[in-house]
């Protein structure tokens, strides 16, 4: 188990081990999250090292004590911006200067303004973001799984070429083609306004195009670790390819589906550049664009309401992330190495 709870990364040889571990952990039961957090927060069952005298204190310090000091310094460095923004979100004064007295007063004024101020349609932004991110991640997972299945389990002409193309394509961020995407969407608007500029559907289609290269490759690697004997057996029993895909493969590759889904979800929530070009109506926009605009003009005046919005936007992402960080880290590793 201790093997499992450590984020594993690294060599080619190990990647399969990581994936195996991920598979095992997820296949086990639905208690992974509790297990992870429990394991992480559990204090270790070792006799506490209590310095008996100066000599052994010095020894303890040279061995471990300084590590605690470094760790606490790192934690202060890591946490203070987060605590600062939390404090600012609770501060009723709501300006930059007013936010500098950490936790001096606590109220929910800023949070209430978020949902009551008609100039700040935060609720709409939040829902838009959730819709776009959910649809994008579900569709990405499904389309990538289809592609990875074909690449992993079928042999056809152009297969190697296809894989190599995907590998090369994923090096080029979609953002580079932002001007072309913009003009293309204008042209699509002329024919089908429903999926053109300013629509969620249009934005989701763009995201799908950008996500497929990387993620098909990530999934392909994982599909390859599932022994072909399993689906061969099902085929011998008379299952067609679709049945093998839906009832044998998909359950076996659930971990990578979750990793790709979560990564896409988090990535889509944070995407700013393309969304800001495509979504022009304030009520259609996402949290990222809305919060950016809140502080791009009147940073100081809107600081409190921005902080509240940032906390609400960050919380779900951080919770998802921390509960699944080792799987995500594992997925990142296998993705970027491959």
């Amino acid at each position: 188990m201790s093997e499992n709870t450590e984020p594993t990364a690294g060599t080619r040889r190990e990647r399969t081990a990581t994936q195996g571990a991920v598979l095992g952990a997820f296949g086990g039961a639905g208690v992974v999250e509790g297990e992870l957090m429990g394991e992480a927060l559990k204090t270790e069952h070792r006799p506490p090292v209590i310095p008996q005298n100066r000599q052994s204190f010095r020894k303890w310090f040279a061995d471990k004590g300084w590590r605690h000091i470094v760790a606490w310094l790192a934690i202060i460095f890591a946490l203070f911006p987060l605590l600062y923004i939390l404090s600012a979100s609770l501060n009723p004064i709501g300006t930059l200067t007013g936010s500098n007295q950490l936790f001096s007063s606590i109220s929910t004024t800023n949070y209430e303004r978020l949902f009551n101020d008609p100039a700040v349609p935060y609720g709409a932004w939040y829902i838009n973001t959730l819709i776009i991110a959910t649809v994008t991640s579900v569709a990405t997972v499904f389309l990538c799984a289809l592609g990875a299945y074909a690449f992993s389990r079928m042999r056809f002409r152009g297969r190697r070429f296809g894989l190599a193309t995907l590998l090369v394509l994923q090096m080029f961020p979609q953002l580079l083609a932002i001007t072309a995407i913009f003009l293309l969407m204008i042209q699509i608007s002329d024919v089908f306004p429903a999926i053109g500029l300013g629509t969620h559907a249009g934005l989701i289609m763009i995201y799908l195009g950008g996500a497929l290269g990387v993620n098909i490759f990530l999934m392909y690697g994982f599909f390859n670790t599932i022994p072909p004997a399993l689906d061969e057996a099902a085929k011998i029993d008379g299952a067609g390819h679709a049945r093998v895909f839906f009832t044998i493969m998909l359950p076996l590759v659930t971990p990578i589906l979750i990793v790709v889904g979560l990564l896409t979800f988090i990535g889509t929530i944070g995407e700013f550049a393309i969304a800001s070009v495509i979504l022009t109506d304030p009520n259609q926009q996402t949290v990222a664009i809305g919060l950016f605009q809140l502080v791009s003009g009147f940073q100081s005046q809107n600081w409190g309401i921005f902080s509240a919005g940032a906390i609400l936007a960050a919380l779900p992402v951080m919770v998802i992330f921390l509960f699944s960080q080792k799987y995500i880290a594992g997925g990142l590793v296998s993705g970027s190495v491959k």
Binding site: E6, P7, A9, G10, T11, E14, E39, A40, L41, E44, R46, P48, V49, H68, V70, A71, I75, A78, L79, P81, L82, I85, L96, L143, L146, R159, R160, L167, L169, M171, P173, Q174, L175, L176, A177, I178, T179, F182, Q187, V191, M205, G209, G210, I216, K235, G238, G240, H241, A242, F272, A273, V277, F292, V295, W303, A310, M318, K326, A329, S336
Partner: protein, 540 residues
Amino acid sequence: MATADQGTVNEGSAKQSTTAAPANRWGDDPLFKPKKRLTSGGLLALLVKVILLGIIDAVAILAVYILVGKGDWIAAGVLVIVVALVNFVYLRPGLLPGKYLTPGLFFLAIFQIFVIVYTAFIAFTNAGDAHNSTKEDAIAQIISTSQDRVPDSPSYTVQVLKQGDQFGLLVAEPGGDLSFGTNEQPLEEVNGPPDGWDELNLNQIIRFQDEVLAVNVPISDDINDGTLRTSDGQNAFVFTSSLEYDESADTFTDAETGVVYVDDGEGNFRAENGETLTPGWRVFIGLDNFASVFTNEQIRDPLLRVTIWTFVFAALSTLVCFAFGLFLAIVLNHPTLRGKKVYRILVILPYAFPAYLTGLVWAGMLNQEFGYINEVLLNGASIPWLADPWLARFSVIFVNMWLGYGYMFLVCTGALQSLPDDIVEAGKVDGASAWRIFRSIKMPLLFVAVAPLLIATFAYNFNNFGVIYMLTRGNPRFTDTTLDIGATDIMITMVYKVAFGGGGGRDLGLASALSILIFIIVTVVAIVSFRQTKALEDIN
């Protein structure tokens, strides 16, 4: 779309059962018993497939109809070919990989591959705010924006009508006849208000003030005749353009000054004194965008600095994140350190914090006058963290470190823990000190493990739009260029700002040319990366 593919995939299996597919392994299997698959599920799947394909085809036919109506034959032709291919893939037995790959390939081909080609295409045009449409649109727009009220022209009594978000004018002509028109449709005689259009009352006229002011109804089909406009929603006047368009000569003549504007072949009507009319229209300008990148010193010099900074930023960010992450990983990688796991969770919290918010939060904290860092931590200092070019560059890297070291920490922790024990043991047996073991055994092994990740991180930071744009938006601006480019801009933010930024006019053509340059640089990085990881040879 996704459900469509699901249905068709289901069906693929039923088809498969009746015909051996040459292109895949299913049909070759001698133990494969097709008969078992001929169930009602197959019929249902067939039904779903036919319905979904039918919907796709119907939508496609509609789209082709609209495209042909617009005269866009190329797009219509491409669409017909694509839809025909989709039908072929899903209706023909076999072609199993095609059935699985088509849905993904569809989006990939349009929004990843096609847009790259299209970017290259735009790089050879003058597309941008000043040249965003066709010549006909430009002519109409020039006429409509250069209009003045005809002196002593009569006033017409009008009503403003509204349908959806469209506005029109119902005009009572002096003779008593009624006529109606909108911005797109010139005045036509009518007997009464047309169906479906509602009259605006006074309240609504005030509410929709901007829209009412924008109503601009052509009097006849000839745009030189002028248009009707109303400023109060009740009385309208005839406005005509001081610029007259001569269709046969393809020139504009200013009625007052007599200046003639001629099509200059570069997407503008230009007078002899060099003055141009706005807007222009989109034309091919060949290599001009690339030429100006390399010769126009307003662009060339800042671009050079931006390019160098992009490399420095990507390299330093990667290095700093890695160094700090590795350091923490080593510190916390002690077998009996108490609270190690709590430390680890807390230390990676910045990595879990959404990246786009990180920049915004730090921008507030680093604010020169009111920010927490200056006001509280530095006791009221006034350090221009984001306003001085070098301090801003430092701040960007610092904030990116806060954001990114968590990932390196995770990766290095994993790599350290997976180092084989026996080699370390062998070192100990040979009498090596702890430092020696670390330097000569652990570090080399660790580097082998994380080198590909460092390259990937470099590539990621090379186009790390979020941190830069959210923290500084590329500012502080360079003083020696009119373009909106600044000291912390990396190439990708520069492209974004040139294409969609505020001041300086949006120039999509130039932005595309810059994109193409980045593509070339990324390609070089990619080649290095593939050499390093040998990933391409690995494909099997």
